[in-house]
């Protein structure tokens, strides 16, 4: 590996993924910047301290890879927060798409979690290529999930329907209660 390979990897992969993380909330985590800082420091050693290029490039590459893996984990973390928010809100998601929305959402979520687990296991076993492949796949699954299930129009519609169902049930319950009490008072007055 050469110094140029490091810049290519940075330009092709790292910068792209970091940009996504930054664009999500206009926030850049310090931990990601520190990996770039560390990589830069290794490249400096080749030019300033006379260390071999290959050794410095390898070390810099490790930091950039770590930064990318961290970026994927953050993407999962942000997705998880959005998912929790969606699930915990008082909207009946079973109303959307004739009841198909919720089971499909749960299935897609299961797939995301399984893929993340596989990626983490591969990472733990130092199978970095497999780990990267799985993290790429996971990133894509999260993007698809967001497109399909974080649809504000559908969620709004379900919320409105929920309010409508609640109001209808409330009014029916109220009318039934009033009628029942009138009926009961008539019956009681006839027998007394």
């Amino acid at each position: 590996m050469t110094e140029k390979d490091i810049y290519l990897f940075y330009s092709e992969r790292v910068k792209v993924l970091y940009s996504e993380i930054e664009a999500r909330n206009n926030t850049l985590p310090i931990e990601l910047l520190f990996e770039i800082h560390s990589a830069f420091d290794h490249l400096k050693r080749f030019h300033v301290d006379g260390e071999p290029e290959e050794k410095c490039a390898d070390k810099a590459f490790s930091h950039l890879k770590r930064g990318m893996l961290d970026a994927f984990k953050l993407k999962l973390k942000y997705h998880n927060a959005d998912y929790e928010k969606l699930i915990k809100q008082k909207t009946d998601l079973r109303l959307i798409d004739s009841g198909k929305f919720l089971p499909q959402l749960l299935e897609a979520r299961k797939n995301i979690i399984q893929t993340a687990r596989t990626a983490r296991i591969a990472e733990g076993q130092d199978k970095i290529d497999t780990a990267f492949e799985k993290w790429y796949e996971l990133s894509m699954l999260i993007d698809e999930f967001e497109t399909c299930y974080f649809d504000p129009r559908k969620i709004q519609w379900a919320r409105r329907q929920g309010v409508f169902h609640f109001s209808t049930n409330f009014i029916i319950g109220l009318i039934t209660g009033v009628l029942a009490s009138i009926l009961a008072s008539i019956v009681i007055s006839k027998f007394l």
Binding site: V16, L28, P29, F34, D70, K77, Y136
Partner: protein, 77 residues
């Protein structure tokens, strides 16, 4: 993996509102300027430890520029 990454690139284009060539070409400050204009929000930095990182990076918190200025003013007073 290249095909998978090209899908990620498409998503980055959606999030940043920029073609991928520009994402690569822009300097960090140009990208920040673009995103701040797009979202009408100032860029901030966060600490995501322990979700990521190894605990060796400003583990407790980050120091804001206001705090630094205050400290400098204290020295200069």
């Amino acid at each position: 993996m290249a095909t998978l990454f090209s899908k990620i690139e498409k998503n980055v284009e959606i999030h940043t509102g920029l073609p991928i060539d520009k994402v690569r070409w822009y300097s960090p400050s140009e990208l920040r300027y673009h995103l701040e204009n797009k979202t009408h929000r100032k860029m901030t930095f966060s600490i995501e430890f322990p979700a990521i990182g190894r605990g060796n990076v400003l583990r407790n918190r980050i120091v804001s520029s206001e705090e630094i200025n205050r400290d400098v003013d204290k020295i200069l007073a």
